[in-house]
């Protein structure tokens, strides 16, 4: 919620306000609620370790799904990305595209390793 813009209150209706009109009490409630949701998410992730999933892929998917939801909450509410200006969206969308490209290119190298760079086959302490 930068000062001059027509901000949408978190979870709000999209009415236009100047920041003097903000309902601060409502905002504070949202921030505490998001904080509580993040703590609950953390507890669920830890407990999920003790559930017996049928595959490793599913375990990883569940952990990363919860982490992604938590990341969304932080970005959307604490970092105000639900109601940011267009320039910020442009910067971050570009970054995200490059970041995904970087991760993908690095991971593709798994299929085409440079001889001699692979780790030892057996761990020897």
């Amino acid at each position: 919620m930068s000062d001059s813009k027509h901000a949408t209150a978190p979870g709000g209706t999209g009415h236009h306000h100047s920041h003097h009109d903000y309902d601060f009490a409502a905002h504070k409630k949202v921030y505490w609620a998001v904080g509580a949701a993040l703590l609950v998410g953390t507890v669920i992730t830890v407990l999920a370790r003790e559930w017996e999933f049928s595959s490793v892929a599913l375990t990883i998917a569940v952990a990363l799904f919860i982490a992604t939801v938590k990341a969304f909450l932080v970005c959307a509410y604490f970092m105000h990305l639900l109601s940011e200006r267009k320039a910020i969206y442009l910067v971050m969308a570009t970054t995200l595209a490059f970041a995904i490209g970087m991760v993908a290119l690095i991971l593709f190298s798994d299929k085409d390793p440079i001889p001699g760079t692979l780790p030892k086959t057996v761990y020897v302490p």
Binding site: S2, D3, S4, K5, Y22, F24, H27, K28, Y31, W32, V34, G35, L38, L39, T42, V43, T45, V46, R49, E50, E52, F53, S54, S55, V56, T59, I60, A63, L64, I66, A67, K70, A71, V74, C75, F78, M79, R85, A87, I88, V91, M92, T95, F98, A99, M102, V103, I106, L107, S109, D110, P113, L118, P119, K120, T121, V122, Y123, V124, P125
Partner: protein, 287 residues
């Protein structure tokens, strides 16, 4: 000369300078941490079967301390809430309340770092011991009641020990892979709440002794690199927030809007630090 848009937003973008600056900086940070996360994934997927510490070290109890990691996550989340509360206090013109929330935020940051330091120290005294019969155990050493750090086999020889007392880790049953049979004695130890057992090992039976340090295994290398880099960010963020909250507060009297903007920007960095931990914690502690 007055710098344009230092406080008032530029009409076309709707942003003041510092807001653009912090988001560009965070963009570069995304790439930095993205590179390290990619490295972690690549190390892990390239590791041959049985190479990762889970299997190679026998699913030890406390490879990393999950309850402590969880607690530290909660500490960081709390500080993320308090820093946004501090900003909103300024918006409401309540400086005393702003200070209170800044103080809690900084206390959380320091708490996080202190806990992390203890975690590191615990790993420096946690060992993988290769025995002459081909077996491998993990655990803490007990040398005359003390738990030495960074020891290698050379330290055992220098100390002229005949035998070594080890608090051997009992495997953590939750760490066994899907479909792997859990040995009966492991079940029994869990049911009784034991995580360690005492063991006396003749030094002549020990082939190698290594602490959980970066050179011991690629997992520890990437774990320490990523968590230390993240810790530096926590320290840097705490210093900046301390400056905003307790040293550079004169600006609040001369230009409250600019001061509030600074706190918002500092808070954005702080949330990013929280964001990195949200992924780092499950990836290195849980998966």
């Amino acid at each position: 000369m007055e710098i344009p848009y230092a406080v008032k937003p530029r009409p076309d973008t709707g942003l003041y300078n510092a807001k653009v600056g912090i988001w560009l900086f965070l963009a570069s940070e995304v790439m930095l941490f993205g590179a390290f996360f990619s490295t972690y994934i690549l190390l892990r997927v390239q590791a041959p079967h049985g190479f990762w510490p889970e299997v190679a070290l026998g699913w030890p109890h406390g490879l990393l301390n999950i309850p402590i990691g969880t607690f530290n996550t909660a500490v960081l989340i709390t500080s993320s809430v308090t820093v946004v509360m501090a900003w909103i206090a300024l918006k409401q013109n309540e400086f005393a309340r702003f200070r209170k929330f800044m103080a809690i935020t900084i206390a959380c940051a320091l708490g996080f770092l202190v806990i992390k330091t203890f975690e590191y120290k615990e790993k420096f005294g946690h060992y993988v011991i290769q025995l002459a019969d081909g077996s491998r155990i993990t655990g803490h050493l007990d040398v005359q009641g003390k738990s030495p750090l960074f020891w290698t086999k050379k330290n055992l020889e220098d100390a002229k020990l005949e035998s070594l007392k080890v608090l051997e880790d009992i495997p953590n049953k939750f760490r066994f892979p899907v479909g792997h049979a859990i040995p009966e004695d492991v079940h029994k130890a869990h049911a009784e709440g034991h995580h360690h057992k005492d063991r006396e090992i003749p030094v002549s039976d020990i082939v190698s002794l290594k602490a959980f340090i970066p050179s011991t295994h690629p997992f520890f290398a990437i774990y320490f690199t990523m968590t230390f880099l993240h810790g530096l960010h926590v320290l840097g963020g705490a210093l900046v927030l301390f400056y905003f909250g307790f040293i550079g507060t004169r600006l609040w009297k001369t230009n409250p809007e600019q001061f509030t903007n600074r706190v918002e920007v500092g808070g954005l960095f702080w949330h990013f630090v929280d964001l990195v931990w949200i992924f780092l914690f499950p990836v290195v502690y849980l998966l």
